[in-house]
């Protein structure tokens, strides 16, 4: 079982929010899963190097040549909001601007 503080911390790290019922489910289900992971404690790994999964033995360098990228129209076909060569995002300086207005 994981405690509430850890649950909230990891949800924040994940940039996720879930309902109270889901939090309860998460605590139970993930608690079971973490307990299951304890199987690995049986292995003495003090002298074992971690396996990183991929081994690219030597760096495969490509010639430094300009390649065709996406056109604006290409990007518009999948982007959420794309105008004049930029991805548009919501206003992010709200606190700063609100403070200035108050001043």
């Amino acid at each position: 079982m994981i405690d509430d503080k850890t649950l909230e911390m990891v949800l924040y790290l994940s940039r996720l929010e879930v309902s109270d019922q889901q939090k309860l489910n998460f605590k139970n289900q993930i608690g079971d899963i973490l307990n299951y992971f304890d199987l690995l404690k049986n292995y003495d790994t003090s002298d074992v190097n971690p396996d990183l999964g991929t081994e690219v033995s030597e760096q495969d360098l490509r010639p430094d040549q300009i390649q065709k990228g996406f056109s604006d129209d290409d990007v518009k076909s999948f982007a959420i909001h794309f105008e004049e060569g930029h991805f548009q995002v919501p206003r992010i300086l709200e606190d700063f601007l609100d403070n200035r207005e108050e001043e």
Binding site: I2, T6, M9, V10, L11, L13, S14, R15, L16, E17, V18, Q22, F26, Q29, I30, D32, I33, L34, Y36, F37, L39, L40, K41, N42, Y43, T45, V48, N49, P50, D51, L52, G53, T54, V56, D60, R62, F70, D74, V75, S77, F78, A79, I80, H81, F87, V89, P90, I92, E94, D95
Partner: protein
């Protein structure tokens, strides 16, 4: 001639090359099979979309053939899992967060196959982002098993398995991270190949666990796999882990007699937790090998009991990193009502991802977070090292490992949805193959008394997939075709 939809990919190739069928007739036959099934009271729901342009592409392919410009895979239809990009087509990964995402480029493998004449006929249903073993965690609803529509087809490439076994496509591409091609192939009674890590480029496959992900093939005949591999392999500058393999001339496969082969049968997969009916089939399959002159020996490999734990630390850790890209900024779903940038991230991700994806992102961030990293993630990577060493030792004395593909028969839809750990344990026989980055072929080996399919894996050394397929061809010709 048999119905077109009964033909394997290689049989269709023969008919097309002999001008006995046109590409358009072939595409129409599979489209009609799909449409007929849509009218069923419980449709298979294997396809998310059957492509409107498939017929036109088939007409163009027929014209090319008429002009003597036919290529290696000219006019052959192929279903594609919904996480493998096809330029201009929607690719959702079964997720709300990518519901309207249109691929701006094709994955390397699709591009290579298309350049040889393949016609993508549709995109197939899957567990969201490949995270699931039953093809139920999809915004498009569950896919059903053609052998028994109340059962799951297995996952995550359940849509691909269902359309191939349900005769709505001769073959399909799926993807694997921990068994997502082999498990559905076993549940639906067809062949499922997980090639070695590096055999097929991962470029244009939506990332889940990058040290484990690999495109796989589902079909009703091992020759179909050789045909697709021949044209799909090769280094790719967009994927540094792609291997310099040349499979020219592997199709048609030369059947390999198993005489003299030494085969290891891990006893960990023949004991508690494995369905008796499945164990009996494995024993029968082992006897077939012995009759051919191979030696089958039981071996002890206790680490196999721990591979689900290693896998469910490493895969979610890699997933939690890979899935940070879905932030509502550039593409995918955005919650327009968010009040700040951080709120936008949180709201977009929370509404866009389903519960199982959230659970795995959570586990991934937990095992990577300060204070838990060494105990979980580092530990799992170290035990993965031990696993690889132990598998390498097995191959010093044996040519193949034989094992069930699944510990259980296809289960009822909904049966494991509320118990994630039980769902994860469905992968007990498959995840070690992905962790060790070796190839494995799930071979359909008959059914239980109630007609539920059973699959058995032939597992080889790295890059020995053609050897596995050549052995399977012998079995297919002598036994498989009788079933």
């Amino acid at each position: 001639m048999a119905n077109i939809t009964d033909l394997s990919l290689s049989q269709i190739k023969k008919e097309l090359d002999g001008n006995k069928l046109s590409g358009k007739e072939v595409v129409l036959a599979f489209k009609q099979a799909y449409e007929a099934d849509q009218a069923h009271k419980t449709p298979l729901n294997g396809y998310i979309e059957f492509f409107d342009d498939a017929e036109k592409l088939a007409e163009a392919s027929d014209a090319r053939r008429k002009n003597n410009e036919a290529r290696g895979l000219e006019g052959l239809p192929l279903a594609i899992k919904d996480n493998i990009l096809i330029q201009g087509k929607i690719a959702t990964c079964g997720s709300s967060i990518l519901k309207d995402f249109r691929a701006p480029y094709s994955s390397t493998v699709v591009e290579r196959l298309k350049n040889q004449g393949i016609i993508p006929v549709g995109r197939t249903n899957m567990d969201e982002f490949g995270m699931g073993s039953s093809c139920e965690y999809s915004i498009y609803g569950p896919t059903r098993n053609p052998m028994d529509r109340n059962k799951t087809p297995g996952g995550s490439s359940g849509g691909s398995a269902s359309v191939v076994a349900g005769k709505q496509a001769p073959a399909a591409l799926g993807t694997e991270t921990g068994g997502s091609v082999r498990l559905p192939a076993a549940f639906c009674g067809i062949y499922g190949l997980k090639p070695s890590y590096g055999t097929l480029s991962r470029y244009g496959v939506v990332a889940y666990g990058s040290s484990l992900d690999q495109i796989g093939i589902l079909s009703r005949d091992p020759d179909d796999m050789a045909l697709l591999l021949e044209h799909g392999v090769g280094t790719d500058p967009h994927d540094e882990t792609s291997a310099a393999l040349d499979f020219s001339g592997v199709y048609p496969l030369k059947p390999k007699n198993p005489k003299g082969l030494k085969i290891a049968l891990p006893e960990e997969f023949m004991g508690e937790g494995i369905d008796e009916v499945i164990k009996n089939k494995v024993t029968a399959f082992a006897s077939w090998f012995e009759k051919q002159g191979a030696t089958v020996e039981s071996i002890k490999l206790p680490i196999l009991k721990s591979t689900v734990a290693i896998y469910y630390i490493i895969a979610p850790a890699e997933a939690s990193s890979n899935l940070t890209r879905y932030d509502g900024i550039r593409y995918g779903f955005r919650d327009e009502k968010a009040s700040s940038l951080e709120d936008l991230y949180i709201k977009s991700r929370s509404q866009g991802f389903g519960d199982e994806v959230k659970r795995r992102i959570f586990i991934g961030n937990y095992v990577l977070s300060s204070g838990y990293y060494d105990a979980y993630y580092k530990k799992a990577m170290q035990v993965r090292s031990i696993l690889k060493q132990e598998i390498a030792k097995v191959y010093e004395n044996y040519d193949l490992i034989l094992s069930p593909t699944s510990p259980c028969l296809p289960f009822n839809l909904g049966a494991k949805l509320d118990d994630p750990l039980a769902m994860y344990l469905t992968d007990i026989c498959t995840t070690f193959v992905n962790l060790a980055q070796i190839p494995s072929l799930s071979v359909p080996c008959g059914t239980s008394e109630e007609g539920l399919p059973i699959g058995i894996q032939l597992i080889g050394k790295q890059f020995s997939e053609i050897n596995l397929l050549s052995i399977a061809k012998t079995w297919h010709q002598e036994e498989g075709l009788k079933q």
